[in-house]
Amino acid sequence: MASTTPLSGTAVSTEIGYNSKIEGEVVHTQLDSAINWFRKNSLWPMPMGLACCAIELMAAGASRFDISRFGAEVMRFSPRQSDVMIVAGTVTYKMALAVRRIYEQMAEPKWVIAMGACASTGGMYRSYAVLQGVDNILPVDIYVAGCPPRPEALLDALMKLQGKVSREPITRILKRDSGPAEYGRMGMRLPGVPDSGKPTVHV
């Protein structure tokens, strides 16, 4: 730590690295890192709470764990205003296309956290009724282990997602024309759902 020699009549000033007298009110950075810095510290979650994981998601938002330390406290129940969908719970086949539709209603850029065993793989439900992992229908960025995961695990996932966001070549993505509708961020192909076809009707 370097300190300047005190001049007579002025306060002692201590400067660390950045000298505003020389550099002015200017911060030098790359556009990519600036935009990503804005984005990663204001990830508005879409709380896709489907089962008990949603309780831990609520705990992560409450005072003890305080998700707002990571800028993600603005839970939006409208997909139009959300950045990251936190799929918290068991995705049944009955719910699957609704989850997919809500994801498609979210504006780019958007990310997905699969919270817990059920959202990641179907969990303990090896069943006719449960989708075996939400990555069958959505591009998942972060998987969180646990049944349900502790709020700390979700916060860890959020920090990992922030790391992922901060590494995105965002200006290149913004400059590139957005692809066909079925292509998401960075040209990622969305996982498909089965083609249309008449189901066999059991009488």
């Binding site: 086949y93 009955k94 699957a96 296309l97 179907g122 303990m124 439900y125 090896r126 069943s127 006719y128 009724a129 449960v130 075996q132 069958n136 759902v193 089965p194 083609d195 249309s196 076809g197 189901p199 066999t200 009707v201 059991h202």
Partner: protein
């Protein structure tokens, strides 16, 4: 205050040969209604004359391979006397239909929808016999014994699709007594042949 067996006897006096003799298992009394077509009548009497004002549960059993295939079980409770009574009746597979008791207890409405959804037993006279857990248009009845645990592939465009789950030898593949978790909880069960 009447006991369960007294109330069962009162039902027997009223319906005679329609009911089998009450069987007791661990203090629980069960009566079998021999003609499923008259179940609503018996239930109405049980509610009105015996005080069974609460239908706790209505469930179905699939006796796959034997005839009649379906058994419908009614779990009755009387709030005033605290007595339980179980009524059972059987329905053949080719008929798969019996009178609804939703006009006796309104609680039966959703129970009967669930029984229809999961087992495919229909309830005549039900006001709104739609599926309750699966979606309209799902082609199978998943709690039947001949329905595979993993499920079957279906697709109803814009509504829902299903795919068989990867069971890898069972829903919970564990073998007790192994020295580490890799042995105790393998990823898949090897064939026993």
């Amino acid at each position: 205050m009447a006991s369960s067996s007294e109330l069962a006897r009162r039902l027997q006096d009223a319906f005679g040969d329609l009911l089998s003799a009450p069987s007791e298992f661990r203090g629980e009394i069960a009566l079998t209604v021999l003609d499923a077509e008259r179940i609503a009548e018996v239930c109405a009497f049980a509610k009105k004359e015996c005080g069974f004002d609460l239908l706790l549960d209505l469930s179905t059993v699939d006796n796959y391979g034997s005839d009649p295939r379906w058994m419908v079980v009614y779990e009755l409770y009387s709030i005033s006397s605290g007595c339980h009574l179980r009524l059972k009746t059987q329905v053949g597979e080719e008929q798969s239909e019996l009178p609804s008791v939703s006009s006796v207890w309104r609680a039966a409405n959703w129970h009967e929808r669930e029984a229809y959804d999961m087992m495919g037993v229909r309830f005549r006279g039900h006001a709104d016999l739609r599926r309750i857990l699966m979606w309209e248009g799902y082609p199978y009845f998943p709690l039947r014994k001949d329905f595979p645990l993993a499920g079957k592939p279906t697709d109803l465009p814009n509504v829902a699709f299903t795919r068989p789950a990867p069971l890898e030898g069972g829903p919970f593949v564990t073998s007790a007594g192994g020295k580490d978790s890799g042995v105790r909880e393998p990823r898949a069960r090897t064939s026993e042949t």
